[in-house]
């Protein structure tokens, strides 16, 4: 299937969860193939996944989406090491790792709101442990150098990234 997508040397390849449910060994082979293509032919790859390790390992930039909106974007390792949106931080923080004590894993309470019951302000507000009354206002995306974040508290929060 991937070979098929590659015959016409596309400018953009959208890879939607291309390795989900595959063994790590096969996943590594497929990722090598995709990255080789991108380097040889200059094809840009939009890589959609919930595997944060794969994003870290293969992508230049990443975008975190929540409930239909971009909530954060930036160079991959910057976002992974020091996320600025509480949702990115929550995801990164819930990855099990052998360097972390066994015991309870942090997780994000609640679930993604349904389209019918979308909060009017910050869409993450009902699940966010940093929420304050101002969060019920619409959150515009803010640009800070090469990063973007949709949270008015980004400057005052110091959020945990991967491995912390």
């Amino acid at each position: 299937m991937i070979a098929m997508a590659l015959v016409c040397e596309p400018r953009l390849l959208i890879a939607d969860e291309p390795t989900t449910a595959l063994d790590v060994t096969i996943q590594a082979q497929i990722m090598d193939l995709l990255l080789e293509l991108s380097q040889k032919t200059g094809t840009a790859i939009l890589f959609i996944t919930h595997n944060l390790g794969l994003v870290a390992q293969s992508c230049h930039r990443m975008v975190t989406m929540y409930a239909g909106e971009v909530v954060e974007s930036g160079p991959v390792w910057d976002v992974i090491a020091s996320p600025r949106h509480p949702y990115s931080s929550g995801l990164l923080h819930s990855i099990p790792d052998s360097s972390r004590p066994r015991g309870t894993l942090p997780s994000i309470p609640g679930r993604v709101p349904s389209l019918r019951a979308m909060p009017a302000g910050c869409r993450f507000e009902p699940r966010c442990s940093y929420a304050v009354p101002e969060c019920s206002a619409t959150q515009p995306i803010q640009h800070i150098a090469d990063r973007e974040v949709r949270c008015h508290r980004f400057a005052e929060l110091s959020l945990a990234g991967a491995g912390t």
Partner: protein, 347 residues
């Protein structure tokens, strides 16, 4: 080892267990080919390996769902396969499997309440009112709201369905739960919730788990000990974190190195070993060490002789001719930096 582990002997032990598939005039597939270990009561025993390595078959054989073609299976001091069939069926209820796909576990025409009560109904256990009360109690234990009882499977999210699946397995009050890739399809945050739930239920119900997964992170987080399977055999087993952090078998080493890393320093220090190909045809296992067709460390002897399993460090068992060498090396095998590491070096 976890402090809650009860020092009271094995929950399940297998000795030289074999499970084969294949009908008349067909090639025989040796899905499990001579496996020996004992898991303790209260322990979480992880099994990892690529698909096709025999993990599910071993899990199913361990609870008596599949009849082994050879070897010994013990549940504590009971030999389940020697029980008369009526007694075996009663015994089997205490050894439950939860599989990856919760959709397969639920009849789409049944409400959650009906599905939960079904195993007890089939076992003719308790009165109807008691079964219903128990179903609601189990929903609560897996943190599902009571209104879920009247929902149909398609009305639940993936995570909710997997919780209901666990509730259903708990209805029969099992001693042992085999969890086969139960968190594979879930998002990280929901996966974290599920792993926390499994840990809590172990305490509450005094459970022993077999935790099958191809995700090394998940297994090393939840398990006390882990067995690494390749082609029907256990190639390495020992305390989970030791095995994952410092593999003593080239196959474990390769699995570990293919696992994407989220911590930048470790990602940079990482030497990737990309295994070529997949597990060879199950009908025709390679000679000698079965891993030799893909092993970056293979030498001539590996094609000829099958390596013996040895205890290299206390509690750490490895089957590789060169395990001592691997252990002595401070650094893992130096491999050509892969294309991925080159590509990301410039980031």
């Amino acid at each position: 080892m976890n402090s809650t582990m009860q020092p009271v002997g094995p929950a399940i032990s297998v000795e030289n267990l074999h499970v084969s598939f294949g009908r008349k005039n067909q090639a025989v597939i040796k899905a499990v080919d001579g496996v020996t270990f004992a898991m303790q009561k209260g322990e979480i025993f992880g099994i990892i390996g690529e698909s096709g390595s025999g993990k599910s078959t071993l899990g199913r054989a361990m609870v008596g769902l599949l009849r082994p073609s050879g070897g010994e299976l013990m549940h504590g001091d009971v030999s389940p396969l020697a029980l008369p069939s009526s007694e075996f069926n009663r015994h089997r209820r205490k050894y439950q499997i939860i599989a990856q796909d919760p959709n397969a576990a639920f009849d789409p025409r049944m409400t959650m309440l009906q599905s939960l009560c079904e195993p007890l109904h089939i076992a003719r256990e308790g009165r109807r009112a008691d079964r219903i009360a128990k179903a609601f109690a189990m929903l609560e234990r897996v943190a599902l709201p009571p209104e879920m009882a009247n929902r149909y499977p398609h009305e639940l999210s993936g995570g909710q369905k997997q919780r209901a699946n666990i509730a259903r397995a708990l209805m029969l009050e099992p001693r042992v739960l085999v969890c086969d890739e139960v968190v594979a399809a879930l998002d990280v945050s929901i996966q974290a919730d599920m792993l926390n739930l499994f840990a809590r239920l172990r305490e509450e119900f005094n459970l022993t788990y077999v935790f099958i997964s191809h995700d090394l992170r998940v297994v090393s987080h939840i398990s006390d000990r882990v067995a690494v399977m390749y082609f029907g055999k256990i190639v390495e087993f020992g305390p989970a974190r030791d095995v994952i952090d410092r593999p003593l078998h080239p196959y474990t080493e390769a699995l570990r190195s293919a696992e994407p890393e989220v911590i930048q320093d470790r990602a940079k220090a990482r030497k990737r070993i990309v295994l070529q190909g997949e597990i060879p045809s199950a009908v025709n296992p390679p000679s000698g060490c079965r891993f030799h067709t893909r092993c970056p460390r293979a030498r001539d002897v590996c094609r000829a002789d099958e390596p013996k399993q040895r205890e290299l460090l206390p509690g750490r068992h490895v089957a590789c001719h060169f395990a001592e060498e691997l252990m002595a090396q401070a650094e893992p095998l130096a491999v050509q930096p892969s294309r991925i590491s080159e590509a990301s070096a410039g980031l």
